[in-house]
Structures are given as structure tokens and as C-alpha cells.
Amino acid sequence: MAQDSENDLVRIQTTKKDLGLTAEHAREKLSGARGPQYWRSLQELTEDPEFDAMMEREFPRHASEWTDPVSRRGFLKLMSASMALAGLSACTKQPFEPIVPYVQQPEELIPGKPIYFATARPTPNGAYPLLVRSHEFRPVKIEGNPDHPASKSIPQGSYPAELRWGVTDAQSQASVLDLYNPERSQNVTFRGDTRTWGTFVGAIRDAFGAERGRGGAGLRILTDTVTSPTLAAQIKSVLQANPQAKWYQWDAMNRDNARTGAKLAFGQYVDAQYRLAEADVVVSLDADFLSGSHFPGFLAMSRDFISKRKLDLAGGEGEAAKMNRLYVIESQASTTGGKADDRLPMRACDVEQFAGALANALGVGGSNGTVKDDHAKTFLNALVKDLQATRGRSVIIPGEQQSPTVHALAAAMNSTLGNAGKTVLYTEPVEIVPTEQAAGLKELVADMNAGKVTLLVMIGVNPVFDAPSDLKFADAFEKVALRAHVGIYHDETSRLSHWHVPMTHYLESWSDTRAYDGTVSIVQPLIEPLYNGRSAHEVVAVFSENPGVTAYDAVQSYWKAQNKGATFEPFWNRALHDGFMPNTASPARPASARPAASALAPVNDELEIVFRPDPTIHDGRYINNGWLQELSKPITKLTWDNAAIMSFNTAKQLGVKDEDVVTLELNGAKVDAPVLVVPGHPDKTITAHYGYGRTTVGSVGTGTGFNAFLLRTAERSNYAAGVKVTAKSGERWRLALTQHHHLIETKKWKEDVVGSSQVGNEAASRDLVRSATFEEWRRTPGFANEGEHQAPSRDLTLYGEDGYKSWVDDPAKNAAHQWGMAIDMNSCIGCNACVVACQSENNIPVVGKEQVLAGREMLWLRIDTYFTTPNTNDVSNPRAFFQPIPCMQCENAPCEPVCPVGATVHSPEGLNNMVYNRCVGTRYCSNNCPYKVRRFNFLLFADFDTESYKSRNNPDVTVRSRGVMEKCTYCVQRITSARIHAEKETRKVRDGEIVTACQQTCPTDAITFGDITDKNSRVTRMKSNERNYTLLAELNTRPRTSYVAEIRNPNPEIAVTPEDHGHTS
């Protein structure tokens, strides 16, 4: 076995092909195709032997082998010792354990029952309203607030009021792990030595006292974007008392462009809020609004956008069915682009030209861009026609990273099309004091260099790491006499500061914040500060007349001042209970955009680099969060790293391939980065996600990725032309990509059953992902189940009366409920929220980059990404399909008969139970699972030692140890608790009473769970949809999880043929 693998390894190295050749190879493969082909990567498409080898194996190479740097001898020693100890431990009996009651039990607590508290996670883009589950006052699981306008879920109408839930995003789900992280800073320090809060206050008050005489001229406060009305009021009052002092806000992913654009268009700062539920045509100008919380209003936008694609909801079935259309013009490969009905990849600088051309065609005066190639022209003409036809029902969304001109043009176009006030509203910005942050930071650095700053207080920011590199922040920073940093972690900035104060996590401290629409939420703490943290309110209070004020007092007194009179108490309690203050959303401003007069940036033809926040760890603030690090980034499927992302053609031109190390050089700054080739990425541009490459952060984040901030300047903070790329020959940077992990084998079957694995065989290639265009679906609603590859008859079984038939058809052996799940591929946007929710709910461990490389990641739910290139053989602009794969809970489960110890058995409710305490780790079950959903604890991945993480675990789910198999359980703990609740009332479980963790968090309600014997349940209705199909049905596994085929609505006028397709270069 070991010998074999070594040979395999050699084979891989020798079969590594030049990528350019591969791309052509792929085109060649596709040119014979007769129908849509779905592929997961270029390697699959080209039938790369490496890929085939991977497909045949249960795990990627070496997953099941001992590859750790321990010698064979050392291994044997270890094993014999552990065997001896295991033998001994079996002889000891369970020790007596203590049980510790309260002295005075809190009134609201029922031990063993969770309590839910409403709060909100503040982000620079607006808060995420939450309902946090707390077990014995330990926050354990984050859910969305079901009542808040920003986080309510789609099926509000179809469930009774008490069965509603709220949705969240991946970062909110993962934020609970940060709370318990033992690597958070825990003490006030002065030059690295531990001090008390009192000494800090004394020292700062002394320094501040000296400043007061001159109106605070030397005081500067630097915060992240403030969305807290109380904090803003506190800072303003400090500035009032010290008129010479200054306050700046800085976030690396700021909204300067949107702000400047708004100034251009409206003469004032406004926030654009998009009402996608009203829009039939959505145009994204490089706006990645479906990827996650880095886009303002992500939850509401994705919910509203998908609600127009739910063909069985309001749209109506059959003739009445309607569907919106999404055009995406983008400079990267994002989920938004993957979901697009029509997508046009282009360089970021070309987007501005395209926007100018579009504006001109729509009759907005002032600008005219040039669109170079024919395909883009066809695209533009069809788009203009569509927009003209849907006036008032369309919307154009500019990307946050696009230039102010694009923002201004989009505003003007929306006005011209009559969309303003209908599909887009303009309100006051979400931050209390909107500024152009880069300009502010520049001013601060200039002041520091001029020696004007004597006391700098930084709250929740890390400018030494993330400030534009040309400002040379660290150098100027050294010139400040007294520097105080307040942050959750010791970071690059705290290392260079005199004072560091640990900051509270949002779950630890009182505050208030505004959601993207302006609705105010009180941030309610769920736990006392774990690590002596202080909130921003307390720190700012140090500069006030009343330095001892607590965060609670600050917040409450602010709102008391806003709500004078005797009604405060009920108002406050209501706000805490509901999680928001009703009717505090910012009112729409009647705004009419002026045609943008500014000239478009000149066209250039140089290689471009695009800076984006990382899809999982954002601007680096979540880098020490293992859940987010191990989360496969959408589309790229990269974990634990960032990369220089480029297209096939660009990689070929540069002569590089995946995992090669290249030096990126821009304006004299250099950084080494690994190459990652991604289908759908535009040519002649490189996407670099910033946030990685940090030097001072905990053990999870240090040493991961490269620092793209080194190349980012204040002037060109979103994209820059003229990047130089030099390959470093001989160097490789292993990237932990999960795209090829847990592959579902279809090729062998195709060969056996269909007789050909050749791509182009329609029957063979339409198995896992099925989709059609809107028109095709209208003609053949049952397209997803056409063809001969249906499940065999139920009677076809080797086991006769003892087999699966014996219980599935026998009511006496069936429980009252039969659980099933339907996943609507039309709704899934691949945002990953469900994956983190599952991890949080089910105590799934993090394994680390090395283990991910070995294919040992433990996530129960994965999102398989498939690509297809409709009507063309060009792999550079594919559509993407996102398919969440939990356990299929097969009725005729292949894993069950092969378990020698009966550790995986069927429940009468149709669940495929996994009994951890029976499992001996033979892994036969996972070997026999065609869907590859079983995960094995190759090592002791669960953390049994770290005290703080014990509190984070969900007490309703077993923490698995080494040598045990595990997999999705359909959240059996939730099923059990709902069933007990129903049984107490002697009734059946109602539809909607059980919500799985993935279903609950899904912003677009793509996952439906329920009783498939109940004719009226939502899951039954989903499953009776004509588009419903199961994966590998021909294997007769009879999965309980089924999929609803995806419908796309492309504009027939933009059909691309192989001949006329050209590249933008």
C-alpha cells in the first residue's frame, strides 16, 4: 500500500502538465459536447490521470497513511505505550464526579434548557441582528433574529408566526469561536508588561490633562467605522470639549468609493439600499452582493434576490411563472458571477468603460466608454434592450471596490431608468459620521509626521498592518509620544504601541449599533468579559468628565436622552427583547442623481491587480478563527491561504501554474504569492485577497497566506495596473484546496452502465447537477427526471424480506414521522453560512492546513461547486453551480450492511444513525458511501483540553474522539428535542417545528427539512416538484436528501457561439 502510493506520487509529479495546454485540451474535449457538461475542475474535464486516481480513492492520497514526521520506530513505541495505557484505563472504573449547584439560581434559568437572547454583531457595513442560544449562560450558537427586517427568512408567510426563524452569514456564525479563543489578549499592558486598568486610566488622564489646556490639540482618536450612536455621541462630546482634537475612522475595506460616488451624484453622502424583491432585472457592475457579509445588506439582498427565483413561491407555477434576470459584469470569479444568468468577465478598469458605455446607451449624458470586443458589444446591446423594457423594475448595482465614477454612473442610470425610489432607495449612511477614510488616515499620518500628535488612541483598528503601504504608517506612528491600542488580539499595532488594552467581544459588552438599513439594535452581552476586556465606550469615557462610566450606563443614558419621559423602561425592555427598535430605519431621501461629469479613467492594457477583502477572514480581523480559516472559500475552494488568483490564459502567458510561487511587484513593493488558476477569472488581471500574511496574531492565523496590503496604496486601493509578476522557479506553495476532496464517483459508473465516459455523452453527464434555462423548463418541466437513469424498482434487492424492503413498506416497522430534506439548487448562492452553522451546532473540529492537504477535513456539510459552459467550449466564462452535500440519509444505505459492529444503523424515522460509542474505526462505511459524506477522526482533532473551548461546545452533541467515524445527522439533537416537546403534548411534530442548523441559517431558504409522510409539509411540496431529483438514483440507495434542479434565465440574445467568442485582451 505504502509502496503503491509512493509510485502514485511519482506519477503525479511526472504527469503535471502545462496549464495552457490543458486549457486547450479542455476546449477540445468540450467541442464534441452535445449538451451542457458539468465539471468540478479543469483536471476533471481533461481526464487528468491524477484526478482519476483521486476519484477512485476514498480519500485523497495519503489521507489514511501515517505521514507525520515520526519514524516507524517512534510510531511503534508510541503505539505500544498507548495500547498499554488503553488496556490499563479499561481497568479503572468511572470516577465519582462533582456536581455543583448555584448558591442562588437565576430565576429565568432552567438547567439543561437553552435561553435565547437578542443582540447584534456590529460590522462596518451595518450590524447583523442575532438571536444567540445560550446554555447555562454560555453563548453557544448564533442564529439570526427572526423579527428584524434585515434577517428574517423567506418563508415568513408559509409558517405560523411562532415557527419563524432568522438567517445569518458565515462570519456571524463563526464569531462565537472568537469569543472563547484563549489567545485573545487578556491583560492591560504597558510596553509588554502587565498593568491594571486603573494604571492605564491614570497614565492616559495625565497625558490628556496636559493636552486639555490647548484644546486637545495633540489628541487623535482612530476607530473603525462607528455604527454605534452612543459611541459616536461619546466621541463627539470629547471633541466638543477639546475642539482641537480629531477623530478618524479607518477600515481597510472602507466605502470611500461609494461615498465619493454619492457626493458626485447627489452632492451628499448617501447609502444606496437595493430592493431586489421589486427588481426583474439586476445588473451588477462588479458588485459581489451574494458572497457574504462584506457586501452591505448581504442578507436582505440575497433573500430578496432569490425570492424572485423561487419558481414555486410567489412567482407561481407553469404559465404564470416569472423569474428575474441577473447580469454580472465582474473582475473576479465570485459566487455572484457564478449565479449570473449572463456574465461578462473583464478587468476592473474596463468595468468603468463598460459602465460609461451603458450609461451613454441608456441616455445618461456626460460619459461614453469604449467597449472593445464583439461579445461585450452584443452583451451591452442586449442588456440595454432589457433595461429599457423593464424601467422602474430594474436596478444597477455598483461594486464596493469600483471607482467613484462607476458609483455615480450607476446612480445616474438608476435615476434615468426610473428605479430610484422603487428598486433603489437612498438613505443616510449607516455609519453615524460618514467620512472618506483614506483621506482621513492620510491627514492623520501627516499630522503624526509633523509631530502634532502627542496622544493617539486606537480602538478596534490595526493600521500598522492594514493602512495603505505608501502612507508608511508605522514610521509616522513611532513619532507619537503616547500610543494606546485597544483590541481583541495583540496585533501588529499593539506591538508598536505603549499601551494595549484588551477589548471586549460583542457578546461580552453593552453597546448599540445600526443595521444596514439604519434600524437600531442594542448589543446585549451574553456573558461577563472572559479576559478582562474593556469596551470602546469605557475607553472613550476616559477622556470625558466621567471616566468611570460603564458601557451599560453609557448606552442606557444615551437612549434615555432620546426617549424622555416615563415610557423609557418599557421602551428599553422592548428593544432588548425584540433585538431592535422598531421604526428606526433610515427614511428614504428624495434624491435625484446628477449625470456624472467626471471623465473616465484612461484605458490601459497593462497587467492589473485587484484587491479584495478575503471571502472568509475579511480584512484579517477573523484570521485567528479556525472555522473561517478552514472554510473553503466560494469558487476557489481554498482554505488556510490566499493566492494570486488568475485565469488560464494569464497563467499561460506568465508561464506559471497552480502552487507556483510568483513575486508580485507594484510601485517598488514586492510580495511572494502562490498562483491559483480559477475558471471564470478574467484575463490580464490578478485578484489578491487581503487580510492574510499577518505576523502578530494567534497561532491559528500566524504564517498563513501572503500580505497583499504591502502592494495596496491609498490612491489605488482597489485595483492597480502595472503589476509585475516574476515566477520564482523551483519554489512551490502547497495550497489546501478542497475542490477535489470527497469526489462523487461518476466516471466508473458511466463506463459500466452507459458504456462510455466520454464527455459529450448526454446521459452520462447529466447526473449530479441538472439545470435548464427558463425557456427549456417552460417547454419540458420534467427535464430533471428525463432519461433512463432512474432508481431501480423497490423489489430489486438481494436481501429479500430481511433487507430494506422489510421496513420501508411495512407500517408496523415505521415511525410516525419520516424525515427528509430537499435542497433547492435554484436558491443556493454558495455563501457557506450553512457550513459554519453545521460546524458550530455539531461541535465539528478544525484540523489545520496539513490535515486538509491530506483530505482529513471534518466538515459534515460541504458545498460542491460545478462549472458548466453553456453553448460554448470556452472554459474562461463558465456558470457555477453550488450543491450543498449533507448525508443523504439513504433508505437503502450502503454504509449500513458493511459495518462489522453495527455502529451505523437505521432509525425507524429513516435516519441513518451513527453510534459513536460503538464505532471501532474500520472505515468500511465511508469506503462504501457513494456520496463521500462520512468523516473519520484520523487523529484527536477535538479539543478536550482547552478550558474555554469546553464552554463553546454544544452540550447536546457528543464531542467525538480519535478513531471514530462521524457524519451529518440531520441535527438529530434538534429532532429529539422537538419530538420530546411534541410528545409531552401528545401530538405529532408540526411542520416547521424542526429546523436543522443549515436550514435555519440559510439566507435564501434553499434547504427544507420535514416529514415526508405529511402531505402538506413544505418538504413534501418541494419533493413533489417536477424538478426534484436524487443523486445517483440508479444505485438504488433511495436518498432522503433530494435536490431541486436549477433554472437559469439567460438572455437569448447573448448566446455565445464558439466561433465568435473573443477574449477581452
Binding site: 472504573k93 468511572q94 465519582f96 464526579e97 462533582p98 456536581i99 455543583v100 449547584p101 448555584y102 448558591v103 442562588q104 439560581q105 432552567i110 438547567p111 439543561g112 434548557k113 416497522k813 415511525a815 444503523v905 432509525s907 425507524p908 424515522e909 435516519l911 444513525n913 453510534v915 459513536y916 460509542n917 447536546d956 452533541v957 457528543t958 445527522t969 438529530v972 439533537q973 429532532i975 429529539t976 420530546i980 410528545e983 409531552k984 401528545t986 401530538r987
Partner: protein, 232 residues
């Protein structure tokens, strides 16, 4: 070649073969006995406690209801262990100077929890719920035994899986009407002492059990034996 072994060696060989068999069987039996013995299960063992609390005195003697202290037994998987405050409700009035109660007073005074030793301790991979058992007519006594007669609390049953399954396979043999769950003096139906359930008199436990199963919608044996009932 001369015989190396004397003839009698055959007899020894045969005997030793039998003896090894017996020994192995004996060891197996011993192991089986051992793992069911109180040494392993802690059945019947009275662990040392900070205060020698007597259920006998408080329940039989004073007639305090189970739920006065175990407040969450009907609403949560965990029955609840009383906070010091519950003890002090009475003991701030009576036995205020009893030396035996000093740990309780100290706990209340210093706001420091009493640390009891857990008597009924299931393995961590078992998810037992008091809530559903109590609401479906399983009496306290069924599992906890004559707790009202225990001067010092001990574990009545083995709490091993086979013991759990005994009832899960045959719920009718233990069910009683809901209102009798906390009744420590409840007697199973017998010809002389019938039990009234929903207006009907029952003199046999099995008849009563079946009636309760139906009335309370108790799930069937094959469902209650499914792994996910207790393990997840």
C-alpha cells in the same frame, strides 16, 4: 527412539485442556460478573457528601415534594440540583446552629457553591431526559428506587444500557398515571388495590400499562430502542 513422555502424559494433557477451557470460561464469567458488579456500576454505593443529606428525613419524614428541590424535572432533561438558597429557605429558620449544616451556611454566606458528589452519573454519550420520562408516567421510584427511605442517597439501579432497554422494550410494565409519578407510596395495581386511570379500575400492571401507552401516545418498542433515542 525412546518415548520422551511417559504414558500418563496423555491424561495430564487432556486434563489440562479441559482445565484451560474451564479457566477461560470462568474468567469470562468473572469478567461478566465484574462489569455488572457494584464495583463498576457504583450501584448501592453511598459516596461521601459535604452534608449528609437524608432524603428519608425530608421526603418521608417531612413530606416535601420531589419538585420542591428538583425544580426542572418536568421541563428539562436535567432534574436540577437545589441551589443553597433552597436549603436556606428552611434552614435560616430551623436548625440554624446545627454544626452538620455549617457547610450549607458557609456556602450561603460566602456565595460559594456546595460541591456534591454525583450519585447518578451516566456516561457522557448518553442523552437521558427526565422531562419525557416524568411526563409519560415513569415514576421517580421506578429508576431511583426507595429514595424516600434512603438516609444517605445511593444509586438504586445499575444504570447500564441493558437496564435502560428492559423498560424501553416493554414500557407497559412500568408506566403509571401521570399524577402518581411523584407519589412515593404508589402501589402497582393488584387485585386488592386497584389503580384508577381515566375512570377505569385496573388490577393488573400490564392492562394499566397498555391503557397508558395508548392514552399518552407512548412510542413503540422498536422506536424506543433505536440508537438515536439516547445517543447522538
Amino acid at each position: 527412539m525412546a518415548q520422551f513422555f511417559p504414558h500418563s502424559a496423555n491424561a495430564y494433557a487432556r486434563t489440562s485442556m479441559v482445565l484451560v477451557g474451564v479457566l477461560l470460561a470462568g474468567l469470562g464469567l468473572m469478567g461478566d460478573r465484574l462489569q455488572r458488579s457494584p464495583y463498576v456500576t457504583n450501584q448501592g454505593i453511598r459516596p461521601e457528601q459535604p452534608v449528609p443529606f437524608s432524603h428519608q428525613h425530608h421526603v418521608s419524614g417531612l413530606g416535601i415534594d420531589c419538585r420542591y428541590c428538583h425544580t426542572s424535572v418536568e421541563t428539562s432533561s436535567f432534574a436540577g440540583i437545589p441551589p443553597t438558597k433552597t436549603c436556606m429557605n428552611c434552614h435560616s429558620q430551623i436548625w440554624t446552629n446545627a454544626p452538620i449544616l455549617e457547610p450549607v451556611r458557609a456556602s450561603y454566606r460566602n456565595d460559594k457553591s456546595l460541591v456534591w458528589t454525583r450519585v447518578h452519573d451516566l456516561p457522557d454519550y448518553v442523552y437521558f431526559s427526565h422531562e419525557i420520562h416524568v411526563n409519560k408516567g415513569v415514576g421517580c421510584k421506578t429508576c431511583h428506587g426507595p429514595i424516600d427511605e434512603m438516609p444517605l442517597t445511593y444509586q438504586h439501579a445499575s444504570l447500564q444500557m441493558e437496564w435502560c432497554l428492559e423498560c424501553h422494550r416493554d414500557t407497559a410494565s412500568v408506566l403509571r398515571p401521570r399524577e402518581q409519578v411523584f407519589n412515593m407510596r404508589y402501589q402497582e395495581p393488584a387485585p386488592g388495590t386497584p389503580v384508577v386511570f381515566e375512570g377505569q379500575k385496573y388490577t393488573k400492571q400490564m392492562d394499566l400499562g397498555h391503557a397508558i401507552q395508548k392514552a399518552y401516545g407512548i412510542r413503540k418498542a422498536f422506536e424506543l430502542q433505536s440508537c438515536e433515542t439516547c445517543h447522538r
